[in-house]
């Protein structure tokens, strides 16, 4: 704890000294904002959230200038600091400025006790969805020189954040005008089987602590989309496992109700209202099939989007493509001053 405080203090001093001078480089500041939307969640996820705010070169010297904002939702497993260490968002913003496309980039902490809140809404994990569309956007518009309108806000994300991008665009189309989904996870419905339910119910805290990515992701999504405040155990999940060994259909129905692929027909007016939609994924990504199924739905209903299948896996080119693809895409679609 002491070490964290010391590091925080050092960061604040660096910030203070930087903001007194000219800003010739894009700057990624790790800040905090308050998210009342998460109050009372059963995992104990804090309402005070970390967030990276990346301001472009020249932000300090031009106190009258306002900027469009790209919100970026990170993926599962790693905390926001590690996500930024990988993505290096300041380099993407720097490159955008050099191309004449100043922008503010914002990446909130989407982490949870089970390593990811899936930008969804439920009593166990908390209302991460409203945390982003209401609490975060209000805080950013209130504390930075943004152009505080839909036409100047973009939403993008990777993996769990690609899921969040699709979900939030469908359910809150009044907030963002263009979206970019990178290697989106969780588009088709998750399905509980008796085997996986039994496996989850048998997990001890030690098992959870030692769980690998896929196993913990299955538990975290279940806690998010099939919460159970009455669960006597610590997980507060409803696995649906019934005494006769079958799965309660309601659990799989709840999971379906959180699947963008399934939700899509009901939210077509929202998708159609977007200025632009982009989707990309690596050809070696294990999520390719789910993305293709989602795009088949967009095709069926005549929703326009751009798509790129590139050479890569689930994570090896994300940072590069934020710089070379994502910010140039938003430069074409977000309104500037």
């Amino acid at each position: 704890m002491r070490r964290v405080w010391t590091a925080g203090l050092a960061a604040m001093m660096v910030l203070a000294s930087q903001s007194a001078q000219s800003q010739d480089q894009a700057r990624a500041d790790l800040q905090t904002f308050e998210a009342p939307a998460l109050a009372g969640n059963l995992q104990g996820n804090p309402t005070q959230r970390k967030v990276y705010v990346v301001t472009p070169p020249g932000y300090d010297e031009h106190p009258d200038r306002r900027y469009p904002v790209v919100y970026y939702l990170h993926g599962y497993w790693a905390p926001v600091e590690a996500q930024q260490a990988g993505f290096r968002l300041h380099e993407a913003v720097q490159a955008a400025t050099e191309a004449g496309n100043d922008v503010i980039m914002v990446m909130p902490d989407g982490y949870s006790a089970l390593r990811g809140g899936f930008y969804s809404s439920g009593p166990t994990v908390g209302d991460y969805e409203t945390m982003v569309v209401r609490d975060l956007v209000n805080w950013v518009d209130g504390n930075f020189r943004t152009i505080p309108q839909r036409a100047s806000r973009g939403l993008a994300g990777h993996s769990m954040g690609g899921y969040g991008t699709a979900r939030l665009a469908m359910r809150h189309p009044e907030v963002f005008s263009s979206i970019y989904m990178m290697s989106a996870c969780c588009l088709p419905p998750m399905v509980m089987t008796p085997e996986s339910a039994a496996g989850i119910e048998a997990m001890t805290q030690a098992d959870i602590d030692a769980a690998q990515f896929g196993q913990l992701a299955g538990l975290s999504t279940l806690a998010t989309w099939s919460p159970d405040p009455a669960d006597p155990g610590p997980l507060k999940v409803d696995t649906g496992l019934m005494p006769d060994g079958t799965i309660d259909p309601l659990v799989n129905q709840r999971l379906a109700a959180n699947s963008p692929l399934v939700m899509l027909p009901q939210y077509l007016p929202a998708l159609a209202s977007l200025e632009a939609i982009a989707i990309d994924i690596g050809d070696a990504d294990f999520l390719l099939e789910g993305n293709r199924a989602f795009m088949a739905e967009l095709d069926r209903f005549g929703v326009a989007y751009q798509f790129e299948l590139y050479e890569g896996d689930h994570g090896n080119r994300i940072a590069e493509r934020i710089k070379t693809e994502v910010l140039p895409f938003f430069a074409n679609h977000l309104d500037r001053e």
Binding site: P123, D228, P249, Q253, R254, A256, V262, Q266, Y267
Partner: protein, 351 residues
């Protein structure tokens, strides 16, 4: 071809009374002092639907007694959604809405009550967004509310609006409320239908898929309700003539993805991901008759709300699916809404 035409002609003859299979009712009594306007509201959300349902909808607007004499006073609005196989006007008649407005006004509770028509080719919109039927979720929450606020002296804020519905309209109240919690301050469902997810067997799915488009009107209430649900929840613009994905896979089994789409429109399955929206309402009410076939289903969502800590009024009363709805709208629902809406400035009689 000739044979087809003859068959179609025969069906047309058959379908004349069958089209009237929708429930009708004699005109409502309009008590002294009550003004009713039947307006046509254009639904931009309904344009281009594949069933050819009208984008201009009749809406019954019932104004309270003091409305005309108080040209500066603004009133709360209760939106009242009708059920399946009935028009908005017939529902308004059947439920004696003008009398409900009058009796409440006599006790000092003055509302505007708005009854929109959402009858469709299959007998009902399910108040859902569908490229096939039209985007009725958005029509209610956006087009209709905007029109009423622009054309009547409403309290044009969330605090001045309630959403109520019967049967399919109760279903609509759940789903429109959960997905547009910013629009309405309080909701009440009466004998809500379609609360838990609809499922099919291979045989029932095949029966649904075998209904000819021209014969849909004659398919009977239960089958029509199934067809209406299918086109509302699993539309497919590439599959005429119904523009739907039937819940039947090519191999004769039930199509799980179609059932998943239906499930995603089930209020019961939606509760756990809409707890914050539900808790944001000033009040929620739900009731059903003890002799209504839907009592079991409605009890499930009551229990789900309890489980997730969503406060709500809940009543099972002595009655059927229809026999006490209008009376309870007047004696239970409107008084409940008076406690939870911004009722506007009291008329001080100075103007």
């Amino acid at each position: 071809m000739r044979k087809y035409l003859l068959a179609a002609a025969a069906l047309l003859v058959l379908s004349a009374p069958v089209a009237a299979q929708n429930i009708t009712a004699p005109d409502a009594v309009v008590p002294a002092g009550i003004t009713v306007q039947a307006v046509m509201v254009h639904g931009a959300s309904l344009e281009g639907n594949l069933e050819g349902n009208a984008a201009d909808r009749e809406v019954m607007v019932v104004l309270p007694p003091s409305y005309a004499a108080n040209p500066t006073r603004h009133y709360p609005v209760v939106y009242y959604l009708h059920g399946f196989a009935i028009s908005g006007r017939d529902f308004y008649d059947y439920m004696q809405v003008p009398t409900a407005v009058a009796t409440n006004a006599a006790e000092g509770r003055e509302f505007i009550v708005v009854v929109p028509d959402t009858l469709t080719a299959m007998g009902g919109s399910m108040y859902s967004n569908s490229v096939t039927t039209g985007n009725f979720r958005d029509f209610i929450a956006t087009d209709l509310v905007r029109y009423i606020d622009a054309n009547f002296r409403t309290i044009p804020t969330r605090e001045g609006r309630a959403l109520v519905g019967h049967s399919m309209g109760g279903y609509g109240t759940w789903v429109v409320g959960m997905t547009h919690p910013d629009v309405f301050n309080a909701i009440w469902t009466q004998s809500a239908c379609c609360v838990s997810a609809r499922t099919e067997t291979p045989a029932s799915a095949a029966a649904m898929a075998a209904v000819p488009r021209e014969g849909a009107d004659a398919a009977g209430f239960g089958m029509r309700a199934g067809l209406a649900s299918a086109v509302a929840w699993a539309p497919n613009p590439q599959k005429p003539p119904f523009f739907v994905d039937w819940p039947l896979a090519a191999d004769g089994t039930v199509d799980r993805l179609v059932l998943a789409r239906w499930a995603a429109n089930s209020p019961l399955a939606m509760v756990s991901s809409h707890v914050a929206a539900l808790r944001s309402f000033a009040a929620i009410g739900s009731d059903v008759g003890d002799r209504d076939g839907l009592v079991t289903d409605d009890t499930l969502i009551h229990q789900e709300l309890e489980k997730f800590g969503v406060a709500h009024e809940w009543a099972v009363y002595e009655g059927t699916h229809t026999d006490k709805i209008g009376a309870r709208f007047a004696s239970v629902v409107l008084p409940f809404m008076a406690q939870h809406l911004d009722m506007g400035h009291l008329d001080m009689g100075t103007d």
